[in-house]
């Protein structure tokens, strides 16, 4: 092709390598008329220091520059053009010295089209580095006109099917249309039609007509997930996102592309058509599928969980989570959840009882149990606070304690081989040793030999971990708390229905020692109660020690008593947690 004068700036002659700027180096620029000092270098999508961009500088100046293709955790593409901004730089005289205004201030040369000096030439804020004295005009008429024009272009071939679009309510096309759009379209031509409901992979559906071709999904799967599965076929306005073969977009991170898709092109097969997003409550929580502890947002409505989405925590999961963890929520709403306290009475079998009755009976049993005759198996899926209370209880009887190790496959990105969300919580509270599960055989031996007469099990089906129903039958007392029925709850003398993590508050300690809290999203079904609540009562009844009846107080007490948590406070955990030595 013939190349008219290039649109973008010409390169500066490479100067003799300048000394790398110090992290403290600052540049003075003006954003929307206000002078601001910004760092010369800022972290790029990989966290490496690079010259600060106009977009970053505007963010520091509290001016959000609208954008579609730019994403802070993806390589810059610069294709949507939504972030075009008008700008100017100090004018240089022939002597390479700044030209001054009459008042002595530097004269600013606004960037204009080289072939049409009356027309401003914008720069894409996402990719253009700032320079000393630069002036950025994020709200000028020219900038607004450029945005309006880009938005108009994005909408001409868009189906405008918001009423039936899953993205409605969290769609950047909608949001920017409100801010920068026009009420009427000038477009009178026929729209381009593209494939609808394309089966991109086992968990993803693509609507090509809604796609604005920002390539976030392509960049994510190539540069973050390491699976170069997506690309663009055809050209011009007929460009279409496609997987290398139909249905083959199938790695464990595909659903992140639904999150970062700024429009309704990529939707989750699991979530689409299930719930309008504006009806949902968003709760900060954690994923429990492995030891990584990805930060999530739980989307729920009327005590039902509809989806998990990743929540940014650069110390843990950046802005991503795996598909298997994201979709691992359906068990929470299972209809066979344990909803009533159970108490086995000779001849009458298991009876449903109220909490006061159950706790009174359990307390009485435990109060009469001799030291050394009790063992505690507590899952590393329980919260740290619950493990702390169980450890207190165990201490009273000098009980053998342990958790169950749960190992699987990990990957290079987020999935950890440790499938427990709180193995380190079990270690730090003393429930388990460095190696989870080594005491299980000893506990089995104790039951077999008759030295252990009482077993407390929280959150595990011990029949799958070397303590079969035959052994459980030998116990005088089997106290079990769980969420779903299993062979251990079936053999129990007492069943105490517990909560899924989304039904309570607490903390987990991830594989790297990050202590992170999670909040309650939904109510537990039936009589099920957060374990820490009734454990608090049991500990009081059995040991006589007073505890705290709030999660804040309990956590702070634990931090005072357990050396591993020394100095921590619930309030100081923030949304993204604190790392402790492990």
């Amino acid at each position: 092709m013939s190349a008219p004068a290039t649109t973008e700036a010409k390169p500066a002659a490479p100067a003799a390598a300048p000394a790398p700027p110090l992290p403290s180096d600052k540049i003075k620029i003006k954003v929307d008329g206000r002078e601001i000092e910004v760092p010369k270098m800022m972290p790029n999508w990989q966290g490496k220091m690079e010259p600060t961009t106009m977009l970053q500088a505007c963010q520091l100046a509290a001016h959000e520059v609208p954008h579609y293709c730019y994403h802070p955790k993806l390589p810059v593409a610069g294709n949507c053009r939504m972030c075009l901004v008008e700008f100017g730089t100090p004018q240089m005289g022939p002597d390479r010295k700044p030209v001054l205004n009459e008042d002595g201030s530097p004269k600013i040369a606004k960037s204009v089209l080289p072939y049409e000096p009356g027309t401003p030439r914008g720069a894409i804020a996402c990719a253009t580095p700032i320079s000393p004295g630069m002036e950025i005009y994020p709200n000028s008429p020219a900038t607004k006109q450029m945005r309006e024009a880009v938005l108009e272009s994005l909408l001409i071939n868009h189906p405008l099917d918001c009423p039936i679009c899953d993205q409605a309510g969290e769609c950047k096309l909608q949001e920017y249309s409100v801010e920068h759009g026009q009420a009427q379209s000038r477009f009178v031509e026929a729209k381009v039609h593209k494939p609808k409901a394309v089966d991109l992979g086992p968990r993803i559906v693509l609507d090509d007509e809604r796609c604005i071709l920002c390539t976030r999904c392509i960049r994510f799967t190539k540069d973050i997930a390491g699976d170069d599965a997506l690309g663009i076929v055809n050209r011009g306005s007929y460009n279409t996102i496609a997987a290398w073969a139909e249905g083959k977009f199938d790695n464990n991170y595909t659903l992140n592309t639904v999150d970062i898709c700024p429009v309704g092109a990529l939707t989750s097969k699991d979530f689409r058509f299930q719930m309008r997003v504006w009806f949902m409550k968003e709760t900060k929580s954690l994923c429990t599928s492995c030891g990584t502890g990805c930060n999530i947002i739980v989307g729920s409505r009327e005590e039902k969980v509809y989806r998990y989405e990743p929540r940014q925590n650069d110390a843990v999961n950046s802005m991503w989570m795996c598909d298997s963890g994201r979709l691992n929520y359906k068990w929470i709403g299972r209809t066979d959840r344990l909803q009533k306290c159970g108490m086995r009475i000779a001849e009458r079998g298991m009876l449903e009882v109220a909490w006061p009755t159950a706790l009174k009976a359990v307390s009485a049993k435990l109060a009469s149990a001799p030291t050394g005759s009790v063992a505690v198996i507590a899952s590393a899926r329980q919260t740290t606070e619950e493990l702390f209370l169980l450890a207190k209880l165990a201490k009273r009887f000098n009980a053998l304690t342990d958790s169950v190790a749960r190992n699987g496959e990990g990957d290079k990105l987020l999935v950890n081989a440790d499938k427990n969300p709180n193995s380190n919580g079990a270690r730090l509270t003393g429930i388990a040793g460095p190696q989870l599960g080594v005491n299980l055989a000893k506990i089995a031996d104790g039951i077999r030999s008759g030295s252990i007469r009482t077993l407390i099990v929280f959150g595990e089906d011990v029949t799958k971990h070397g303590i079969g129903a035959d052994l459980l039958a030998k116990l005088d007392t089997l106290i079990v708390s769980d969420i779903l029925p299993n062979a251990t709850t079936a053999a129990a003398h007492f069943v105490l229905p517990g909560c899924a993590h989304v039904e309570k508050r607490g903390t987990f300690v991830n594989v790297k020692g990050r202590v992170q809290k999670f909040m309650k999203a939904v109510e537990a079904p039936g009589d099920a109660r957060p374990e820490w609540e009734f454990l608090h009562e049991l500990v009081h009844n059995v040991t006589g020690q007073n505890g705290f009846s709030t999660i804040e107080g309990l956590f702070n007490q634990m931090a005072r008593e357990v050396p591993g948590f020394a100095g921590l406070e619930w309030a100081k955990l923030g949304d993204t947690g604190v790392t402790v030595q492990i």
Binding site: M1, T7, P14, R81, T128, L213
Partner: protein, 463 residues
């Protein structure tokens, strides 16, 4: 009498001149290569020495050679921007993706004198310490690719190419890479992406200036076929002698592709700026005039993306008066010297050196609809304004040329085009917007009349 001045095409059309090496050697081929390999370091006044490579680079800069691909950027400056301190290899790419409608000059060189191009490339590579170069040829030129590969084999066999070229210790390999039929591969960063095996999406600048982050993120020079050929002649003639060709700041010769409504369409090599547009169209040595009885309507002066010039237009140009002072002078269209700066002053460009002549039988709306369809088809679709705007303009023009126009379509088109130029990743934005902007502005009556007629017809049908 204006004449052709054949430098690049000196031998190409001579009877008996063949594209093989023997013939090229008989005509002084590869003498320039031998000449530079024998160069000694030059002593500078400050006691330092200038390497032979640097001498050639300086010569190219001093020759005033400007790129013949379209932008007309100084080749010497382009070379001087190359990052030579990165420690990474430097690549050179010959852009032979000649695909601007109306342009058919590079293919003359490739088909008739491929060794001239190869020698030009070897010289340019040598001068820039390039060890590996690529010749990116348009997919639609299979014969050219075959000829070039044969020529490269011949050059290799004679050690003009390969290891230790002519015993100098310099190694160079050149590979031919065929495009797959996309106009955008002529954009240098799109070309680089394509060469890397990716979709030819032009790169954002900053940060991906080829001179710093080009092919495989290494410093890269991309030059047009004709530009590289000129390097051979600069070496042969010396910079000063070469610069005497053409006019100041518009030195050397260039091949003009003349097509459209003239009696003698074809390619003509002229000294830049020594021949006017009127002479190119009307002189018997060139276009030979319009067909009998026709009148000039417009000229597309530099490939299809350049802004159109309307018959009868005059332009203000800087000219040295009788008193030796520069002054603005009115210059009629046909008296415009065909060079880079005059056409830029006329608000358009000489681009790829392709002149398309339209006479009064041509419907300007149809002509624009044709071009718009081409650009809508060739937009790579990477960035929003061009992806959406190019097809939008094409659809509107299709409507306008198929009986469904509106009087307001003229402004509608201007509005769309205005929102493309200057807002895209590469110059394709301008390439597709400029024809629309210039045709509609200069022939607004034609567009409005057509739209109004359609509206009147539609209104009549309603009653």
């Amino acid at each position: 009498m204006p004449q052709e001045h054949r430098l690049i095409l000196k031998h190409a059309d001579q009877p008996g001149y063949t594209p093989d090496l023997e013939c090229y050697l008989r005509h002084g081929g590869y003498d320039a290569l031998k000449k530079v390999l024998a160069l000694a370091p030059k002593d500078l006044p400050d006691g330092k020495k200038m390497s032979p490579q640097e001498q050639v680079r300086e010569d190219v800069k001093a020759s005033g050679l400007r790129g013949r691909g379209g932008a007309g950027f100084s080749a010497g400056i382009k070379w001087s921007l190359v990052d030579r301190k990165s420690g990474k290899p430097i690549y050179l790419i010959c852009n032979a993706d000649e695909s601007e409608p109306g342009t058919f000059k590079d293919r003359q060189i490739i088909h008739k004198d491929p060794h001239q191009l190869i020698e030009g490339m070897i010289l340019s590579c040598w001068a820039n310490d390039v060890k590996l170069a690529y010749l990116y040829i348009r997919g639609e030129m299979p014969q050219g690719a075959k000829l070039l590969n044969k020529a490269l084999d011949e050059a290799r066999a004679k050690n003009f190419l390969g290891k230790n070229i002519l015993g100098s210790g310099y190694d160079l390999e050149i590979y031919v890479h065929r495009g797959a039929g996309a106009y955008i591969c002529g954009e240098e960063t799109g070309l680089i992406e394509s060469l890397e095996g990716k979709r030819a999406y032009p790169r954002i600048k900053p940060p991906y200036f080829p001179a710093v982050l080009g092919l495989y993120m290494c410093p890269t020079i991309v030059n047009n076929v004709e530009t590289l050929c000129h390097v051979k002649h600069i070496v042969n003639m010396g910079a000063a002698e070469y610069a005497k060709l053409g006019t100041p700041n518009n030195t050397g010769t260039r091949i003009v592709s003349l097509s459209g409504d003239v009696k003698r369409p074809g390619y003509f090599e002229i000294e830049v700026g020594k021949v006017t547009i009127g002479e190119l169209i009307n002189d018997p040595a060139f276009g030979g005039g319009l067909c009998d009885g026709r009148k000039l309507k417009a000229i597309i002066p530099g490939g299809s993306s350049s802004k159109i010039l309307k018959a009868g237009e005059t332009f203000k140009l800087n000219r040295k008066g009788a008193d030796g002072q520069m002054a603005k002078v009115d210059v009629p269209l046909l008296d415009l010297p065909y060079d880079f700066d005059s056409l830029m002053a006329a608000g358009t460009m000489s681009g790829s050196g392709a002149i398309i002549v339209l006479d009064d039988t041509r419907d300007i709306v149809e002509a624009l609809a044709n071009l718009a369809e081409f650009y809508a088809h060739e937009s790579c679709g990477q960035c929003t304004p061009c992806r959406e705007g190019s097809l939008w303009m094409s659809k509107a023009l299709h409507r306008l040329t198929h009986g469904h126009g509106r009087k307001a379509d003229a402004d509608y088109l201007l509005h769309i085009a205005q929102n493309i130029q200057g807002r895209t990743i590469c110059a394709f934005g301008e390439a597709c917007a400029w024809p629309v902007l210039s045709y509609v502005k200069k022939f607004k009556d034609d567009f409005e009349a057509k739209g109004a007629a359609d509206e009147a017809k539609a209104a009549a049908a309603k009653h």
